[in-house]
């Protein structure tokens, strides 16, 4: 186990906020937090890992300052407000700086997306699962293929 239980709770809350449970399961059910832990612990290089950990700490610090509790304990509105602020700040940095390191929100959301859409739930329930399509047609009506076809990755 790489993360502390508090870090894990923050990651779970952030993941589910980005890909929530709707008519299909969300990030937590799809195992996204476990995937993020694996990538941060065993795939990231030192620089990416340090940036991730700093960003994660900052999420809880900001929530403490704003609401007096850690992120996972805060109200839904507070969580959304903080995540929106992180997104806006990150986007501003991407627009204003020449080739900046990926800001925390964008880094985290990237992990959630790749973890969710490579999970069994993401590939089989959220996307249209066609492991063996059997034919190729280059021009069909979108209505015939209602969801993005999982690309096998």
């Amino acid at each position: 186990m790489f993360f502390t239980s508090q870090q894990r709770e923050t990651i779970e809350a952030l993941s589910e906020l980005i890909i929530p449970t709707t008519d299909t399961p969300g990030a937590i059910t799809a195992g996204v937090p476990e995937f993020i832990e694996l990538i941060v612990a065993e795939w990231y290089d030192t620089e990416d890992r340090e940036r991730f950990m700093l960003g994660l700490t900052e999420v809880d610090e900001r929530t403490q300052a704003l609401a007096g509790v850690v992120f996972s304990q805060s109200e839904a509105d507070t969580q959304t407000e903080i995540l929106s602020a992180l997104e806006t700040e990150g986007q501003a940095r991407i627009m204003s700086e020449e080739d900046p390191p990926t800001p925390f929100f964008q880094q985290f959301r990237g992990l959630v997306l790749s973890g969710y859409y490579s999970s069994e739930i993401g590939l089989r329930q959220e996307l249209l699962y066609q492991p063996i399509p059997g034919r190729f047609d280059g021009c069909v009506d979108v209505s015939e293929v209602t969801r993005p076809v999982s690309d096998g990755n």
Binding site: R109, S114, E126, Q130, I132
Partner: protein, 562 residues
């Protein structure tokens, strides 16, 4: 004392050319030994076609840290992913050296089937525009053959492997014997028509020509469009030696296939002036074994075949066997890749594709076909195609939450990309030699590779990106952006040359039949033989030359000349 065994013919390598040599030799009655440096592959157990991302520890991202240790070079190839990395060599066992600042990426497989298990499957004929190229502008030596010499052998190979594609009647890219073409998608059809209107017949966008079956063929099944061939295909729908030529050779009862057989050198008999066989190191036991045969076919891949010859130096040829010309190891080529442009195509938002086509578009060479471009010689062609973006565009969209998640269910805009592949001039200074200071895991000296692009290749890359943007503009694309990638030689994995064919023994290693000028029972039929590179994906030409060389060699034997 080393063990010894005798055969009619020995084929070194079991990949795309070794499989062809084995098939053609055994079908002509020769008892043939096929030596493969790597392990056996069992499609039932080794292919990972049905493995899903969630079944892999890193979900397809690959184990970055282990790959950096074991495959720091191979991982540069897109196909060396978490599914398929086992089909590529370990770099720590198979080193080679380059000079600082002159990288060359040598992407390799050692296994029964070789790289034909993970190849790109694109197949294009060369034309006389290519076979006459060296003679026309003076780079390299003249090819000893012309299109008419190889045409029946292209037919022969294509009939067996199965090639899907669309006949276009272009002189610079002769049509193959085609199975039905795969469809262009809506965006590609639109770009094809726009280019027809704008450039007349000069720039023709066609579906990629590929060795993937669109109909059942020769006991192999039509493609099921799962889309990731490089994981291995259990229905054998794309051509590989493992799926097609090696089984044909085995069916004759005359093939002996020996895996784990690292060829150390060719044995030369000065009395007869012939190659008497090869010396092998058993990769599992390190035992040294000799195999003898009347014919030796080197099909180990361009640089491995040349490495074996360099390591087979004799008193008569101290710089490598069969090297009277001094050209062995020289004139290394690869194709450039990565000049191009991309843009968005509007107006087809209600259309999409069904299935995952393992193939893209091809836009054949149009430069230096009828008039000379002021900035560069030779030409280039594009691959690429149209597609609608998927969930990954979420990384560039604002937002999160339920609306964000549901927005990613719809496909994104149609994008279109032209990605160029260019010809590389044959230059003597691009070369391989044996590195005196380093050996591989079997004690065999490794190659030192010196290869650089020249201004001619760079000028063509630049033109690729400009012309790609111009064509996208003609097709009404928006948000057009150009790119010129800085890919080192080797990464296109079309490495070729270093034992070129030619018209005389003073300037070439092989004659017009892929036969060594110096050692008449020695043939080299993989990419090492190439006299120029063209800009087409080369495997089809290697296969045709191999079949042609076997036909010649066996006739020479029956005529009593070999």
């Amino acid at each position: 004392m080393a063990r010894q065994e005798r055969y009619d013919a020995i084929v070194v390598g079991s990949g795309i050319t070794g499989g062809w040599a084995a098939k053609e030799l055994t079908e002509r009655g020769l008892r043939t030994l096929v030596l493969e440096a790597g392990r056996s592959i069992d499609p039932e157990n080794d292919y990972v076609m049905t493995t899903q991302a969630w079944e892999l520890p890193f979900r397809g991202r690959r184990d970055r840290i282990r790959q950096e240790r074991e495959r720091p070079i191979q991982r540069e190839c897109y196909a060396c992913d978490e599914w398929s990395e086992k089909f590529f060599v370990r770099d720590d066992e198979n080193p080679y050296t380059t000079e600082d600042g002159k990288p060359f990426l040598w992407i390799r497989s050692r296994q029964v089937g070789g790289r034909s298990i993970v190849w790109g499957r694109q197949v294009y004929r060369l034309s006389d525009l290519d076979f006459e190229a060296n003679a026309r502008d003076g780079f390299g030596v003249d090819w000893p053959i012309r299109y008419a010499d190889i045409e029946p052998w292209y037919d022969h190979v294509e009939r067996f492997i199965g090639v899907s594609g669309q006949a276009e009647g272009l002189a610079q890219l002769p049509d193959s014997r085609f199975l039905p073409p795969m469809n262009l998608n809506c965006a590609e059809q639109h770009v094809r028509e726009s280019l027809m209107n704008h450039f007349g017949g000069e720039r023709v966008l066609t579906i990629g020509r590929c060795a993937i079956l669109t109909a059942n063929h020769g006991g192999r099944r039509a493609c099921h469009y799962c889309g990731t061939c490089e994981r291995g295909c259990t229905t054998h729908s794309y051509f590989s030696s493992l799926a097609a030529t090696l089984p044909a050779a085995a069916a004759t009862g005359r093939m002996t296939l020996r895996p784990y057989s690292v060829v150390h050198s060719v044995i030369y008999d000065p009395t007869s002036g012939r190659a008497s066989g090869v010396r092998v190191i058993d990769a599992e036991t390190q035992e040294s074994i000799e195999f003898h045969g009347r014919l030796v076919f080197l099909c180990a891949s361009a640089l491995e075949s040349t490495r074996i010859l360099l390591h087979s130096a004799t008193e008569r040829w101290p710089d490598g066997l069969a090297n009277s010309s001094g050209q062995l190891g020289h004139n290394l080529m690869d194709h450039t890749m990565g000049g191009g442009a991309q843009g968005l195509i509007s107006g087809m938002d209600d259309k999409w594709v069904y299935g995952r086509r393992p193939n893209g578009i091809y836009l054949p060479r149009f430069r230096n076909v009828s008039e000379q471009h002021p900035d560069f010689l030779r030409g280039y062609a594009y691959q690429g195609g149209g597609s609608r973006t998927g969930w990954a565009r979420g990384n560039d969209m604002p937002g999160f939450g339920a609306d964000f998640k549901h927005a990613l269910r719809a496909p994104g805009p149609w994008q279109f990309r032209f990605y160029g592949f260019g010809e590389c001039l044959p230059r003597e200074s691009n070369q391989v030699t044996l590195d005196p200071d380093r050996v591989d895991a079997w004690g065999i000296p490794v190659l030192n590779i010196q290869c650089e692009w020249s201004d001619n290749e760079r000028a063509a890359l630049s033109d690729m990106s400009i012309q790609a943007a111009e064509m996208l503009e003609a097709a009404g694309a928006s948000d057009i952006s150009t790119f010129i990638e800085d890919n080192p030689p080797g990464l296109t994995i079309h490495e070729m040359g270093t034992a070129r064919m030619g018209r005389d023994s003073e300037t070439s290693v092989l004659n017009g039949w892929n036969q060594s000028w110096d050692v008449p029972n020695l043939f080299v039929t993989d990419g090492a033989c190439m006299t120029s590179s063209g800009n087409q994906n080369p495997s089809l030409t290697y296969m045709a030359l191999t079949a042609r060389a076997v036909d010649y060699a066996v006739k020479q034997i029956s005529d009593g000349r070999l």
